[in-house]
Each structure stands twice: as C-alpha cells, then as structure tokens.
Symmetry: D3
Subunit: 323 residues, 6 copies
C-alpha cells in the first residue's frame, strides 16, 4: 500500500481554493428550473419482483430536459405511515439492474429509490434502462466523462446531476415516502452526484457521500489516472489546446463548489489508498463542506473504501438521524 497522496495530517487541513465560475449558482438554478419545467410527474408501476417482504415499483421520472429516467422504489411491504427515503445514485457504469440487487435500505426499514445513470448500465455492472439524449458536442474520448466537455451546457454531468435532483423530486411524490425525510446517498460517481444534490435540492435531511468523484479534478488528475480522470486526461492528450475550456467546464461540476453550498448533515468516507478518487480530492470537498459533517477514514483501502464496514456506519448514522 505505497503512499500515494498527502499524509493524513495534511489531508485533514487541505483546503485548496475553490474553482467556481461567477455564474455557478445561476447556471444550476437555471438548469434545474428548466428541467422541472420540461417535464413533470413521475410514474410508479407496482411490479412483482419476487420479494415477499417488500413493495416494489418501477419508476419513470422526468430528468434533465424532461427526458425519462428509470428507477426502482422499494419499500417495506404496506408501510403504516410514510417512511424516510434513501435516494441512491450509482457509480460509474452502473444501471439500476433488478430491484432485488440492492435491498439494504429497504431491509433497514426505509423507502429506497435507486436511479439509473443515463446511458450507462452496460459495462458489467447492473443493467441500465435509460437513454442519454443530447449531442456529443464535438469529439470526445471513449466513455461518458468527456461528452460535451468543451461546453458546460452540453456536459454529460450537467444532465446526470440534474437527474439526481429530479430523482429526489420524484421520490417525494410517492405516498409511501415522507417528503420531509429524504436522504441522498452514493459512492464514487454516485458520491459525486449525492454531493451535488445535497447542494442543489432543498429540504434534505442527510447525505451519505462515499469516496466521491469529480471533486477538485485538477488535483485528482495529478495523483491518479483512473476512470473519469483518465478519460479527461485522454481528451487533453489529444486536444492539447483545449485545457482551459476543459477545466472551465469541470468547474461547474466540481464537488468543492457544491460542498460549500450544502447545509445537510453529511457522512463522508475516504480511503487513503484510493487510486480512483484520491484522498486529497475527497478531503478538498469535505473540508469545504458547509453543513454538519463527519468522515470515516479507511487507511488501508483503495476505492472499495469501507465497504460493508461503511454500511454499518451508515445504518447507525441514519438510525440516529431518522430514528
């Protein structure tokens, strides 16, 4: 486990300057407003998923630009009262799969909505069911992370994060969900999404943010070369003259900039050997995070981070928060 980033004591106080452009808040306010205007009304279709102790709904809700996004809603069977709800975002490449693939949160007694990553879900994780509409806006590297990277308006993550906000909106529409007790959760890219939504959605009561991606990407790219960061690097190795445009676009999705605008109680995690989302990038966001916060530090782990040990912490954290 060779050292691959700053020592822990430096990480804990690492507070690089944020990167937000002047119109950061306006950009996102406009984006969300436009998408909310473009489509309304999630649909919930009860399905028999073979899970005798749960109610399962096939969900379609209007995401970015009103485009349909798939999700599952799973709740304990026939709840007596509206339940707190965990809205979960997936890691890179993930799709919602089958409703029985992620039964943790419903097993704990919560409502659980898991959102498809648009266009993803065909790369050996769970299968996805959501199309990504929109132009590639020029050349892009293989993968999702550089689609539209020369222009914030066309950037893939603008669409994905907006879907994330709209997933919260959708969950709140279901009668089994108590709209005042919604938590967002996710790891890696899902952690990046949860972090963004913690700033962009209103009235959340908690956020579970594991090893989030897309935090201080310029720093991350100096430390690791995994997944998203490798795609961006590949783009820059080819389009050598577009670095300024690329980093400007990234500033609209940089987790540091969302962190500084969040006020939701958050439980982060970070792994000190993480070569996908390096610890300094995670701490860059965590140290800027403006809400109540705590972080689990896993000194010997790579991107798997706390794994089930983190789930145990999260169950405890949500129990305290919502119990």
């Amino acid at each position: 486990m060779p050292k691959m980033d700053l020592p822990r004591e430096e990480l804990e106080t690492y507070l690089p300057g944020r990167t937000e452009p002047e119109d950061f808040e306006e950009f996102w306010a406009r984006t969300i407003a436009e998408s909310r205007a473009a489509g309304t009304g999630a649909t919930f279709t009860r399905v028999d998923a073979g899970l005798g102790v749960f109610d399962v709904y096939d969900v379609s809700f209007p995401g970015f630009g009103g485009q349909p996004v798939a999700a599952w809603l799973v709740t304990p069977r026939a709840p007596a009262a509206p339940l707190p709800c965990v809205v979960q975002y997936l890691g890179y490449g993930g799709g919602r799969g089958f409703p029985f693939e992620r039964t943790l949160w419903a097993s704990a007694g919560y409502a659980h909505l898991v959102m498809d990553n648009r266009g993803q879900g065909a790369s050996l994780g769970s299968a996805g069911a959501t199309a990504d509409h929109g132009s590639s806006a020029g050349a892009h590297a293989v993968g999702y992370s550089t689609r539209g990277i020369l222009d914030p308006e066309h950037f893939y993550f603008r669409r994905l994060y907006t879907d994330g906000v709209r997933a919260v909106d959708a969950a709140r529409e279901h009668p089994a969900v108590d709209p005042a007790r919604v938590v967002v959760a996710g790891g890696s890219l899902g952690g990046g999404t949860a972090l963004a939504v913690s700033a962009l959605a209103d009235g959340l009561v908690g956020a579970l943010i594991d090893v989030p991606a897309l935090c201080h990407p310029r720093r991350a790219m100096e430390v690791v070369e995994g997944n998203t960061y490798k795609e961006i690097w590949t783009f820059l190795r080819t389009h050598r003259d577009r670095a300024a445009d690329v980093f400007r676009t990234l500033s609209y999705v940089d987790g540091m900039n969302f962190a500084a605008r969040a006020d939701v109680p958050a439980r982060f995690s970070v792994a000190l050997m993480d070569d996908i989302c390096p610890p300094s990038s995670v701490f860059a966001a965590y140290n800027h995070y403006a809400g109540p916060k705590d972080i689990d530090v896993w000194p010997f782990n790579r991107h798997e981070a706390g794994g089930a040990y983190q789930m145990a912490n999260q169950l405890q954290f949500l129990g305290d928060l919502l119990g």
Copy 2:
C-alpha cells in the same frame, strides 16, 4: 469472447467417465458421522444488525471434527410459521461478512443461513470469522486448495464440505426454519459445496448450483488456469512426482461423483466463456446429475455467469418449488 471450450452441442452431451474411488461413499459416510459425533448443538444469538424488517442471528455450529463454524441466520421478522430456508455457501475467499451483505433470500420471504468458509474471508471479499484447524499435511501451494492434497483425510475440501452438511443440520435446529424445506445454494466454490451437500445431506428440497468449482478437475485444468485449478497446477509443477496422489485425492471431492448420487431438484447455471470454472467441467457434473434438473446457459459470460439474471431465475424456481 474467443471460444475456450467445447461447442455447446458437445457440452450438452459431454459425459466423461466418473472418477470415484471404491471407498467414496464409505469415506464420506464415515467423515460425516465422525463430525456429527464430535460436536452437537448450534447456537443462535439474536443481534441488532440495523435491519428493521428482519430477525438476525449470529450462528455458531459444530462443523468438521466438531470445530466451530460461524454463520448468519436472517429471517423475515417474527414469522408466523416455520419458513423454507436457503443455506448458502460462498465462493473462494469468501467470509460471512455482515448480516446485511446478503439480504436477497430473506427479502424473498425465506429464512437464510450463510456459512463462513473456514480459514477464508480475508482476501477482499467479505470478512470471515472461522478458523481452519488441522495440519497442512506437507508442503502446499499458496492458497487453500492444495492443503493436504496428498491425502484425502487431510484435504481442505473434506473439511469444508463437511461443514456444508453440518450447516444444513444447524439450520434445521432453529424454530423459524421448517426442516423439511431446506434448499442449498452457492456459486463457484459455493456451487461445488452445494453440489456436494446435495448428495451428502438428506431430505433437501432443492439445490441452486451456479458455475460449480471442483467438477472433473483434470478436465478443467486442461482448459483454464484460474484460482483453485491454478493452485493445483502450481503444486504439480513443483511436486512433479505426485500427480497420481493429487488426482486420487481430488477424486474424493469431484463434483461428478456427488452429482451421480444426488436426487434433489437442482437448478444449475453455466457460462460458456467461464475461464475459472470452464463449461465442460460444469456440464460433466450436470450431465451426471441424477436428480430432476435444469440448467441456465449464459453464452456470453465469464465466471460472473447469469449474475442478477440468474437470481431472477432462482427466485422463480424457488417460488415454484416452495410456493
């Protein structure tokens, strides 16, 4: 997905000669009887695992030689009547982990007992909690698969498979479990264990056997070089004069030999590109299987095989069988 084994039509009729030694049945009857005599009485300790809709028990039962083996039992909360139970065995390297790591079968309404693989559970899967007692009986290669491989009495898999039988015994002791409706399940090494137990345990009602390991190992070693088979190969590359002993010992755990002695309705799966447990080795066992049977064939998959698609099939299969 380059072709790596026989064509499908040949697989479906592939029926190589079995390998059982003369004392195969006596060996296992004696083994099980001795272990049942060496220790009795599982313990079930109720724990709070944060899973509101389930009852969770920390289980310790006497396995091979009466040695303690850890497991979890998870059931829907406060069942009105004894439930069918799925006893699950894990793949190579796996430990029982936390009780919330595998909630599928309880979510489907069954009791679910998941057994630790003795000595395993420290190699990036779930954490294990069970010691493996016993001598290495000479030199062995790195890993578990060649411990005691020169002598069936000391072979690691003798101990593991006996634990598997005793796990069924243990599940039947719990009041929430209907002892007449126990199913065994597992994939890879867990599939090999489930296959062995389907022959060695009495009165099972079903077996879910995914891409089982340790079936016709001599053939498997001609096709692939993954995990268990690689360890055996490594042993043979060093101890060049012991091949006869090695294959004799393996004949006591060869899935083909168990298959021919099973009468439980079984649902197998196989992946045609599986480079860990190659399809001809799986079909060698399946085609010898003496009970009612069906097999899901995944033509484009490696060892991940059907994944969640297979789970869907299993939920359906158990629903039909137990419903």
Copy 3:
C-alpha cells in the same frame, strides 16, 4: 504468432451464410435518401496549412440527418484538370486531425478527402471536430460500438456509414475533383466504412479495403475480443437477454451483406494474426465480394497488417486503375 483462426486454405474458401434482413436494401436506400434530403451543399474553405505544394480546404458537408461533418480536402497545388480523388475513412477513435497528417494521396498526385468519424477523435489518435447527434437509445457500453445497438434506426454505425456515402457526394462537388474517378479507402473501421460505401455509393471506380471491421461479427466475436467486438461482448455480458436484438441490428452493418452488393474493383488486405479484425471475418466479406477483387495476405502480421508495404501495393493498384 500462435495460430488464432482457420488455416489459410480454409480461409480462402470460407463462405458463411450472409446475415442480411429482408429489408436490408430498403433500410439503406431510405436512410441515404432521407439524409440527402436533410441537407445539401458541402462548403470548402481554403486554408493555409503550411504545405507549399498543396491546396488545402477545410470541408464541412451534411452527413446523416443533414448533420455537419468535418473533412479535409488536399490536392496538388493548382491542378490543371480535375483529379481522381481518394475518399478516406478512419479507424476506430480517429479524427481528421491536421491537414498535414496524411499527405500520402496528395503526394501521389490525387485529390484526397479525409472524413472525421463523428464523435470520435479524442482518444490519442488525431483530433476530431465532428459532433455525434442522436440519443444513446438506452444503455450502452463504454465506447461507440453499442450506441443504439438494440435498434438499427438508432445504431451509431448507421450514422457513420451514411456520413461515408455523403463524403463521396461532397468530394464530387469540388471543381478539383473528377466526380467520375472517386475511390474509397480505409482500414479497420475505416475499411468497414469503405466496404459499406462501395455498395451504397454509385459510380465509384475503386475501393481500398484494409482489414475491415464489422464483417461477420458473430464469427469475429468467437475468435477475438478486441475493440468493437469487445464492446459488443461487454454489452451482451450485461444485457444477457438481448442477444437476438443485438445480432439483428448488427446484420444491418455486416460487411458480408455490403460485399455481396458491390461491383467496384477492390483491393483488400488481411493479416493472418489479426486479433482485432480476425482473418475469417475479413475473408467472409472478401469471399462474398461481388466486384473485381484481389487481396493481400500478410501471414505474420497482427492488425497493423501490411502497413507501408500495403501502401506500396495501393499506390501501384491506383496507378494501374487511374493512370
């Protein structure tokens, strides 16, 4: 150079059944007609590329759906009469780059138009400048090859191959080009495009088709696991229930089906150790090719095939054809 496909003598007579759907010709006729209707008129902007002996034009032409596609046109300076023109398509990931990156054909005295691969050109080859518009039409694997693979109407290669036909249309609009003497050329994915265009465009006088991709993909996937074929395989490993849809969509772009409809004199090449576009897939197309034809066989090469040796053969072939 371990053998990785059929022996040469079997390759030379390998003629698997074609895969075209009933509406293959109607599908492509409609596709081309609709795109020709959706946009007309290429633009040619003279630029100073530092190449004193050539005239260089930045080209934009209407491709699939009338969407703009970028290209370069390079000709010997101030030609006395319209010239034969080589229209070149690029391999997977390629973009048109700078006009001085591919000066072979102009150096030989021909006009040369090189077309961008839409959306590509940011993965360490030459930089691209063309957006790919259109929905992902569901989940897709990382890469371009499975975008829209569940529906021929939305398949990425439908758009790309249509661009290829429209590139020929565009070249013919320029006064330095003799519209009666247009040749198509390309290797790998560019070879697949050239093969498709050789069947879909009218009045071509030659085709240079090197190690073409997307020929008999089902066979290719049994032999190799590179690039495009790996992406398709990845899709199938996840979306295990969609193989029939995938192969139906692929039948609309299978090089065998284009080959049987071409009548242009063609020079193919194939490499017997090619683990990206395996020789049996190339011969499957070549042996179905209906026009005058010849093939250079490189027995010791992988996907690099003949390299500069093939260029020498092509210069000779075009010299004979056009001289």
Copy 4:
C-alpha cells in the same frame, strides 16, 4: 529504476523507533524453551544423492512444538575434523528441494544445513517436505503471512523462527559440525529468519543477512506492496477494524527488535530499488543491529540484490571469519 524510497544518505542514518512489546524477550524465551522441551534429538540419515565429493544426510529435527522439520546436511566427504557450518534459511515459498540444489557452502569446504520452511515448498521454488501444524486462528488472506496474525501465539512466523533456532540446535548435534562455529544465513524471508536467529540462538559466530523481510513492516508497507506485505495489506483491507491487533502481532517478529539484541558479526545486504523488502526497512534493522556489522549496498538492483556478487562477498567474509 525510479527512486522508490529514501535517498541513500538518509537510509544510512535511518533509525526509527523500535516496536517491541514489553514481553518481547519473555515471549521468545518461553517459546524457545517450550519447543526445546517438546522434542529433542535430530535424526541424520545418510543418502546417496549422486554427489561424489560430498556426504549428504537427510535430516529431521524437532521444531516448534516439537513438530518434525526436514533439512539437508551436506559436508565435504569424510572431513578430517569437525567443520564450521552454515545454517541456511529459505525465502518465501521455498522448500529444501534436492540436496544437490544448493552446493555452494559445501563446495567452499563448510558443512551446510538447509532448513525447510514449514508448509511451504510447493510454489515453483524447490519442493518442501514439512507440514505446518496449527490452527489458522481465524480468517487469513491467501498465503502464509497472515495465519494467526491476530494473536502472536498463533502467528505463522512464531513457528518458523522457532524452527530456525532449533535448526541451529540440530546442526550442532552432528559430529561433522563444530558446534562453536555455526553461521546463519538467508535472504528475504530467509534473511528475516537469520536475523531473528542471530538474536535468539546462543554462540553463533556469524550471520549472513540478505535483504531481510519482516523488518519494520509498517514502514515497508508504506513503500512497497510485494509478497508478505501485500498479504498483510490484503488482510487489513478486509478486516478493517483489526489494524492494532495486526501491528501488535507483527511487533513480535519485527527484525528491528531482534537486531537490537544480536551480538554476532553480521554481513547484511540491501538493494536500493528493492520493491519486495524496501531499503528503508532493511536499514531500519541494520542501523539497530547491535553486533559487529557491515552492509553491501546494491544501488541498481531490485530484490535480486547482489546475487552472485554477494555470494563472492560472503565467501570472502566467511573465509576471513572462519579461516
């Protein structure tokens, strides 16, 4: 040969705090005493190994817990007087193999005893012949290094190092060996063993310690991820809550703690590019070493270190020491 550890000048004065627990000396004194009590009397069986100029003996001696450990003793044929003896310990995975595999020390005119590593010797080095008795004491990672790592009493290396002390005892029993002139030697894990024995055995006259393993393991794990250290890391990545126990157990076998208790003249070696036993871990032990000492530094080598060049130095060193 990218720099992978401290600069040489810092290495030469690198003296991190030692890690020994309070009962370190008591622990080892008790361990050795118990094992000496548990079994006595090595056996030496003359064998014909085809080596005309040597006498060869198949040795079995009582090791940890009195358990039998195999070795070879090779001496120049019919020595006129008792000889100095080199007791050699093997690297990770090694077994004693055949007696003709290591003829260096007998060729130099010394008696030579080479000890099996218990349980090892089946991983492509020389074949081993010694069983490792004892429980795994819970889950452990693949490999030997984490067996019993949660408890010093059950730790694999406790058993191995005790065998090492008893091997010296055994050598001294043979009439061809001068018990007052015994040297210990080994590289990598064998170096770790030789270092431990140099502190634990009495009356040695020299120690040849090449690139020793298990010195300051916490530091080593920050620099490299090879073999033993990777296994420990793997354990910690899974059993995330047991780091304190793991490092406590390791403190009982940390080479630094033995070094400070040795008084034997020692010749160390270290390789500055060693990514298995990194130089700072070796210097941590060397700089604490309390006896007369020298070290050969190989600036351009990895774990192979000085190889035959080191042997030349060792022949010279022993010649001076014993001549």
Copy 5:
C-alpha cells in the same frame, strides 16, 4: 496523469552540473575527422516511388568508419532553385522505411533527408536497411543501448551520432539542397541525435529537437524506466561492479554536453508526463542549450508529446526561419 517529475517551475530553472569528460571535444573531433576520412561521396539514385509531386532519391552515404548508411531524399518535383533541407533522425527502433512514409517536409516545400538508424528498423516501426558493423565489446543487454557501453570508443551511440553528422554532409552534396540552409530534426532518440549534431555539425540554420533521449541519463534513470534507460539499468543490475565505467561512457553522449556547445536556433519540445524521456532530463539539456531557443511544453502528454500540434509549430518555426 500522476506527477512523475519536478514541478514545472523547478523544471524551468533546472540546471544540473554537466558531465563532460576532459577529452569530450577532442573525442568527437577525432571521431568525426576519422569517419570523414574513412569514406567520402554519397550516392543518390532516383527512384519511382509513386509520388507524382516529388522527386525521390535512394541515398547511401558513408557514415561512421566510412560504413554505408541508407537514407531517402525527397524534394518537391524539379525545384527551380536549391532548397532548404530538413535532415531527420529517427526514434529508437526506427528504419527509413519507404519514401512515402514521411512526406511532411517535402509537402511543405523543403528538401527532406531521412536517415536510417544503423542496425535498427526491424521492431515494428519502419523497416531499416543499414547494418551496424563493430564488436559488441563484451556482454550487453538485449537492445542497442548497451552495446559497447564499457568503452566510449565502442559505444553504439558514438557510431549513430557520427552517422548523423555525416548525413548532413551527404545532404549538402545534392544539387537540390542549399547547403547553407540545413536544419536537423528528430524526436526521442532522433531528438538526441539532432541535439548532438546541432553541436557537432557546422553551419546549420536550425534544429527541431523533440523530447530528446540521452540527456542527463543518470537523472533520467532516477525518474523513469523506459527503453534506453531500462536497457542501461538492466546492464547495471547484472554487471553490478561497472557503474563507473557505464556512466563515464554515457558522459560522451549526454545531451547536456552537446547543448552547451550548440549555437543553432533550436525549437525543443517536452512533455511533462513523459515516462520515456522525462521532463527533467529534457530541461537539463534545454537549460544548458547555448544557442537561440524556445521550447513547447505539453503538460498533459506522455512521450507522444505535441504530436501533430508540434508539427504545426515546427512548420511555423521553419517558415519564419527559412521563409
């Protein structure tokens, strides 16, 4: 793109001490003089390479020791007056190939001579046609870089760099070339050659030096382990006692030492992620470079550096210089 060398601001002022031996200038003066004496008179044979717009000559000139070296000379067809000439040196493993493989400089209107690397050109780049005469002068590692590395007189690069000087001599002999306007160019090993020739040849008007190899090799070997540096390292790992000789020999070809003796206007390039020719080694030479100079810094690139973007800069630079 993890950081792999000094930060940019340190690179820009990085000026390590040079390494030249006392007889550096005498060594090279004698070497060149002897080779010029050993053979004179390049031959230029007009060939038909299928390139209608160019004149192509197969060149053989006397290189080191008068030994014949192959090259191509390509010029715009029938130039009205002698042209400026770019003499190009190739990267490691490269051969001159076919004359149509590198048409950039002739397309720009210059004469262009490309020199074979003696003995190279059979490792998947372009094919070479030049033998390397001379003894291996002892053992050497696989590859060219350690041939004769124990003695500057027999070192491979002495021969190669002398060929480079003689290639300029040869170009000047052709009537289509203006001997007063010769530029040298190359990347990687070709960049090292161009740098050496910029100091060793007289009367050059420019030098294009991309990511040059063999600059401050001792430093480079501390940062990377690619190609040439890995071969030297391999030699040192085996011949552990010859480091002083190796570095002495290297001092005769160290780019820093040539840089300090050059006065030609030069355009360098460097890539900050280059793991073959690391940026500190390139800046070590650049910062010592004594002539007018500029450097293009590619922050996101590996050894591909600026690629076609650099070509664009070079076209501009030469246009300004020679226009």
Copy 6:
C-alpha cells in the same frame, strides 16, 4: 494449464519433414574447419574462487573465427586421473557468471566446463565476459536471434554453435579431462546448442538436451510467441517480404537437422505446457534423433520443465553412462 500443443500421443509420433538445405553438411564442415584454422590453443588460468573442494580455471578459447570465448573449468580438487567432463551451454541471455554459480557437475565428481554465450550475459542472468564480433548484416529486431538472419553466413547462431564445438575442443586440451569421455549439456538455447554440438563434434559420449530451442522453428512459431521466436516474428512483421530468406537461414540451425546426424546417447526433456520451446518442436527433434535416446516428459510444467527432478535423472544417467 490449458492445452497449448498436440496431445501427448500425437507428440510421440510427430515427425515433420526436415528442413535442411542441400549444403547443410558442407556449410557446417566448412564453418568448423575455418574456425579451427583461425585460432588454436585454449588457455587455462588457475584462480582462487573460494571453493575449497574444487580446482577452478578461468578459460579462454578460440571460438568462431578464432575469436576469444570465455569459460570456467571446475574440477574436484587434484583429481587422481583424468575425469569425464560435462561441457555446458547456457540459455538465452546467460553468461558464465562466477565459477561458484554452477557447482552441480563438479560436486558429482566430474570436470565441468561452462561456456559464455557471446555478447550475452547482461540481462539479469549471470554476467557474461565475451564479445560478439561481426556485423549485424542489416536491420535486426531487438535481441540476438535475428542478427544476420537474412544470410546464414552472418547469422548469430552460426557463431554461437561453432563456439559450442570449439568448447569441446578446448575441454579436451586440459589434463584433468579425459578427452574420450566428454558429455554436452544444456537447456533451452543451451539445449539447442548441445543438440547442434552432438552432431557437429566427434567422439562425444553423451548429451543432456533439455527443452531445446531452435527446433522446427516454423512450427514453434505457430504455437508460441516467446523469446527467440518472438524476435523472429517481430522481424517478419516488419520485413514482410523476407520470410523465405528468414526460414532458409533458420534451416541451417534447425535442431531437427542436427538430430538426424547425431549418434551420441542422449537424454532429452520436454515440458508439455512449455510456452517458450513448445513440445511439438522438441519432439520434432527428438523423433528425428538418430542416436540412442530417451526423453523425460513433464506434463504439468512450462519452460522450467523438470528442474531439479531432471537434474536427478541426469545424475543417474551420467552415473550409468560414465560410472
């Protein structure tokens, strides 16, 4: 250990046509005669290698073209009568190293001469001390195997095999050696050399030929891509037009052609999983071998083949032959 060549029963009768050119015998007779004429008289310098029980001589003998080749001669100290002698040739990359690196044969009571591979011995095996004189005769791939491959006169292996014959001549000059009892031995490239010398030298009494290289290379190249064969393949991938020349040159060193001309009792070995010297290539030579012969078949091994187990067989074989 996936099957990688013919089944064993086919191997045992595999007898492909030999490849010798008409002048094969003349070529070698002339080669040997010329080299014997070019230099005579080995020198033997007694050295103190620290090996008390042996006499050690630093040997220099005239090899190909009379060029000096280094070797070690080691014998039991002060033998009473001339001894049988094992002349050993080394594998690819090997050098003679230190005299104490290979003490097996002297330990068994024989004289032992180990020959340097010219030019080799700097690639992490033992260090070499012999230069390879001669031109590269054109371009060649990295490595030794394609030097001069376009012309048998300049081929590297012509020089090496001639050295091998002259090493036997040299051994016979020493008074401690009985010239009538010389055995040749070697593995891999050393096995190829021993096989060649068994046909080219007179009066040998035995040959130990382990997994010999350069037997039926065309076949070997269809099965594997290791070392020598990969270098040849690399050459052919670049020089696509020279296959006929390459295979003609190889026919002069093809082990099959030597085998048919040998009459020395030989002990071969072969490993059925050998991916460097594949079993069909070894059996091709063995089955053509014209002298008394036996072969050890290692079914589970790669190129390490029998290792120490083979040494045991060889000690027995030589004991029977010479005892």
